[in-house]
């Protein structure tokens, strides 16, 4: 399968997810925005949150390989200035975005996992978080590795 097809199919699934839309409306009173690629010198801002950006980052294949790997980066971003306390724990302050970015990420992951990619599999999902440096923005990045077997007799370069 083409990495462009994977990227676009994943982006459409995230964009059209009613579950993500409903969660964003409840948590942030706003629909989510989705970008396939972006301009790093002019990235989305506060008014665009919650947003998701997807773009290809790596592909590995070859005539000596019996499998292909496609890697797609999926970035989620929230803007959240709020904190909350925990009943009975007076000295604990929790920044709301800490849990919300993981909840948002999981919904994104679920919508991507629901995409029909045939015999391909989501072989590795590696997640990094940016919880503090860009406050009040909370970000996560998932590198989704898609595994594709190469059938005997087929051209691995296609």
């Amino acid at each position: 399968m083409n990495i462009n097809t994977l990227t676009v199919d994943f982006a459409e699934a995230v964009a059209e997810s009613d579950v993500i839309r409903a969660w964003c409306q409840i948590a942030y009173s706003s629909d989510h925005a989705v970008y396939a690629g972006m301009d790093a010198r002019n990235p989305p801002g506060e008014d665009d949150c919650p947003y998701v950006v997807l773009y290809p980052v790596r592909k590995q294949f070859g005539q000596h390989q019996r499998e292909k790997f496609h890697e797609i980066e999926v970035v989620g971003c929230l803007h959240d200035t709020t904190t909350r306390s925990h009943a009975g724990v007076a000295n604990l302050t929790e920044y709301t975005g800490v849990q919300n970015i993981e909840a948002f990420r999981k919904l994104i992951e679920d919508s991507i996992a629901d995409v029909d990619i045939g015999n391909l599999t989501l072989s590795v999902i590696a997640v990094d978080y940016e919880m503090i440096e860009s406050f009040p923005f909370f970000m996560c990045g998932m590198v989704i590795q898609v595994w594709e077997g190469v059938c005997i007799g087929s051209d691995p370069l296609l």
């Binding site: 990235p43 989305p44 801002g45 506060e46 971003c77 940016e130 923005f137």
Partner: protein, 100 residues
Amino acid sequence: MAEDLGEHHFNTDEFARTITYNGTDIPALVDFGMNSDGDNARTARIIVKASDVAAPAYRDTVVISGTSWRVFRDPDTEVAVKGDGQVWELSLIRDERPVW
């Protein structure tokens, strides 16, 4: 000194302009750096009277000509870049856009 601040440095008929700091209109000296009109600036500095803003804080809201800014704190600096008891010089930021 206080009289000089009011009558000269913070005269909005001269160099100062009216800004809204945490919901209150006050005079301030505004510097957008190379973006003198502020339309394209994402950072700015303001000087306000300590009598108008007693204790500036990180992420205080500042509105200049209809545009919202936040008091910015670089991790290596204090909120007030300069404070001499009479005025505060503060860094502002707007339109924050973090990159992954």
